[in-house]
Symmetry: D2
Subunit: 245 residues, 4 copies
C-alpha cells in the first residue's frame, strides 16, 4: 500500500489530460506539465497493483483516468486529506448543532502552524487546495448553506511542529437569541495522523484482499474530502465504517 | 403532560419511603419529610395519568414507588436533567475522542451563571444534585475511567440570564504526546431548553398514546442522566431516538 | 474641533504633493488625485483654525504640508487611529512582558468585525492602512524585534456592530521554557471610541487655548500610531498625558 | 538572604503571641502552637541578620514582633507571595480598565495546577491563604469595589508542573453596553518565579548594605500582597521600584 503524505500541491488547472486512462498515458509520454507529481506517483502505485491512500488535499488518484486504472487493476483507493484536527471536531460539532436545531449563522476558523507544512501553505496557491477541502464540509452536515464560513491558515514559525486552531461559532436559538461557542485546539498533526495512516494501510490491504477496488466510501471518516461520499458528518461516516465489519 | 422545570432540589438522603408505592403513600399520609416537593408533584401527575417529564437533576419520578405507579397507570416518564449546553457538547466531543483512540487524561469543566438558578446552585447542598448528573457522563462514552474529571458551577451575578462554560481537555496520542482542547460556551439556558421541552411534551403524549408506560430510554438524548439508559454518547442516543420512528 | 471618524482610506502612494504647503495648495488647485478626501477635510479644518483629530488610520493631517499649516494657524493636531481594543491591551500586555524579562517569540492577532467598517477593511488595499498602524506597536515596547508578529482582520458579517479579537502570545522564560497567553476580546468599537473622542475634543480645545499648535505627543495614549511619538507603551504614554496637568 | 519558597501554610488564627518581640520569644519558649514554621524560620533568619524574603502567601515575617526585630537588627524584609502569573496580568489589565474608564462588573478567575503545590492548595484551609492574597488586588487599582470578584484554585493532576489560568472579565462602557475580555494563561510557575527570586535576593542584599531595614515597599511589584504598600497597580509599583535607582 502506498500512502501520499507529501506537503500539499497547487490546485490543478487543466484536467483534460486526466479524463481517460489513454489521455493520461499519452500526457505522461509527452511530459505534459498538467500532470502533477502526486498523480504520477499514484499512477505508479496503481500500475503495480498497490493500494493507494491520498492523505493530502492534492488531486492525485481522484481523477477519472486513475479511478479507471484502479478498477481495472483491482486496486483499492482511499482519500483524501486526513481528518486529524480542526476539521474532525468541526464535523462532530456541526452534527450536534444540526441535531439540536440550533442555526449556525457563522463559523470562523483559523489555524497557525510552524513547520514545513506551514511554510508550504504560506504560498497563496498551495493553500487553496487545503482551504478547499476544509471549506466544503459544513453544508452537507447542517443541511443548509446560508451561513458565513471562513477558514484561514497562517504559517507561524513559533508554533513549531505543533498546530493551533481557533474557532468561533455563532448560532441562534428560538426568538433569534444569539449564542457563541469557541474552540481552541493545541494539537500535533503528526501524532494525530500516524494512527490513521496505519489504520488506512490495514483497511486498504484487507479490503483489496476481499476483492474490492476503486474508492471506498466506507473509509470516509478518515478524510476531510472523502472521494465518492457526499457525507461529512463524522458519526454518519462512522456508521458507514462499522458497516464494513 | 406535566414538566418539572423548577430549580434543583437537594439530594435525597433516606430513600426507604420510596421503595414501594405502599411505602410512598404511607409516607405521604404521615407528612414524611424525606419526600421532596418534586416527588409529590410527580405523584400527583402520575396519579392523574398525566405523562411526566423531569427536566431537573432532582430525584422525582425516578424512585421505584413512582415507576411502579407509572407502569400501573399507563403513564410515560422521561428524565432527567435537560442536556442543553456544556454536557451536550461534552457527550459529543467525548465520543469523538473515543472513536479516534485519543486517550483523555483530564477534563476540567467550569460554569458560571447569574440568575435564580445560579443562586440556588450556590447552595452547597443543592449543587451536589447538579454536579452528580454532570459528573457521570464521561466513563460510559470513553469506556475507561482512569482520568481526572472535574465539574465546577459558580453563581456569578454579572452573567445574568446567560450561562458561560469553559472546558479544558487534556488528551494524549501515540508516544504519550500531550495535546489540549479548550471550549468556551456562551449560551442561554432558557432558549436552549425551550425547544427540548416542547419536543418532550409531544413525544411523551405521542408515546403514551401508543400504549407505552414507565421510563422511555429512547428519549435519553434529551437528558444528562437518562433514567434507565447507561449510554451517554449523544450519537448513540440519537440512533435510539430515531429507532422510535 | 473637527474629528475624522470615517472608514479607513487606502494608503497614499505618491506623497510629493504633500511636502510643503505650497505643493499641497497647487495640487488642490489642479485636482491632483494623490490628495485624499481625508487630507482635504483636514486642510479645510486647519484653514478655519479648527483643532483637528484623526481617529482613523488614514494619512490625513500627518503630512508636512498640513503640519506646517497647523503650526502657522495655531491649530492643535491629534492622531492617529484610536486605540480602543486589541491594540490597547497589546500595548499594555507587551509592557508587562518587557518589564518581567519574558521574551516574546510570537504574537498572532486576529480580528473579526461585521459592520460597514469591516466591509471596507475587506478591501485588500484599505486594510493595509489599518494593519500598518496595528503592526508597528510592539518593537518600541519590547525593545527588540526578533519575534514573529502577525495581525489579521476579517470581515465577518455575523458579528454585526461588535468586534471580536483573539490573540495568541508565545513567550519564553529561563532555560527557554515555552509558555503561552491567549486573549479573547468581545468589544463594541463605537462604545469604546465614543468617550475617547469626547476626551480628545476637550483636550484639543483646551490645549489650543493654551497656545499650543501642531501634533501633541502627550495625547499619544489615545492612538495606535501617535504622530510625533515613538513610544507605544500605554503606561509611558499615560505618564506623558499626566504631565499635561 | 533567606527566601521562603515553601508550599502555602494555613492561615493563622490567634495572633496574640506575635504582637511584640517579647510575646513572640515567650511563645517560642513555650512551644506555643500558634507560631507557624514559617514564622520560626523567619525569626531564625532575622536573628542571624539575614535579609528575609517571603515568596509565599503565608503569614511569616509580616507580624509586628518580627518587623520590630528586623528594624532592630538592620534586616531588610520583602514579601509576600510572588506575583508570577495570573495576579501579575490582572494587576496590569485592571490598570488599563481603570485608566480607560471602563467599569469592571465582574472578574471570574480560575486556576488549575498539578504538582505538590496544587495538592497542598487542595486542602480547604491551606487554599484560604492563597485566595486571600489573590482576592485583594483589584479594588485598590480600580478605585471601587462594587463588582463581583471570584478566584478559584483547583488541584488538577494532569496539568503537572505547569499552571493554567482562565479569566473572564465583564465590563461596561457608555450606555451600559456589556463587553467581555477573556484570558487563558499556560505558564510554568517555577520558571516565572526563578528570576524574581534572584532579583529579590540581589535587591535585599543591596538595600540592606545601604542601611535600610524592615519591609521595603519599593519591592512591591514582585508581590501579590506587598507588605506595607496599599498599591497593587503593577505600573505604579514599577515606578516605585525605579525610584530606588
Amino acid at each position: 500500500v502506498v500512502v501520499n503524505l507529501a506537503s500539499v500541491e497547487r490546485p490543478i488547472i487543466n484536467s483534460k489530460s486526466m479524463e481517460t486512462l489513454e489521455d493520461f498515458e499519452n500526457a505522461l509520454d509527452e511530459n505534459d506539465e498538467s500532470l502533477t507529481s502526486g498523480m504520477i506517483y499514484a499512477y505508479a502505485a496503481i500500475s503495480q497493483k498497490c493500494g493507494y491512500v491520498n492523505f493530502t488535499p492534492a488531486v492525485t488518484a481522484d481523477v477519472p483516468a486513475l479511478e479507471q486504472l484502479a478498477k481495472r487493476n483491482g486496486v483499492v483507493l482511499a482519500g483524501k486529506d486526513g481528518k486529524t484536527g480542526q476539521t474532525l471536531y468541526k464535523t462532530v460539532l456541526a452534527s450536534m448543532f444540526q441535531k439540536r436545531g440550533l442555526k449556525v449563522e457563522g463559523w470562523y476558523s483559523t489555524n497557525i502552524l510552524g513547520n514545513r507544512d506551514g511554510e508550504i501553505l504560506n504560498d497563496q496557491e498551495h493553500v487553496k487546495s487545503k482551504i478547499s477541502t476544509k471549506q466544503g464540509v459544513l453544508p452537507s452536515i447542517l443541511k443548509y448553506d446560508d451561513f458565513v464560513h471562513q477558514v484561514h491558515i497562517h504559517y507561524y514559525p513559533p508554533r513549531g511542529d505543533l498546530k493551533e486552531a481557533w474557532d468561533n461559532i455563532d448560532f441562534t436559538g428560538w426568538f433569534g437569541v444569539k449564542m457563541q461557542m469557541k474552540v481552541n485546539w493545541l494539537g500535533c498533526d503528526s501524532i494525530l495522523a500516524a494512527p490513521l495512516v496505519v489504520d488506512l494501510v490495514r483497511w486498504v490491504h484487507f479490503l483489496q484482499g476481499l476483492g474490492m477496488s476503486g474508492n471506498v466510501k466506507e473509509l470516509g471518516s478518515y478524510f476531510k474530502a472523502p472521494v465518492g461520499l457526499e457525507e461529512n458528518d463524522f458519526f454518519d461516516q462512522w456508521l458507514l465504517l462499522r458497516s464494513l465489519n
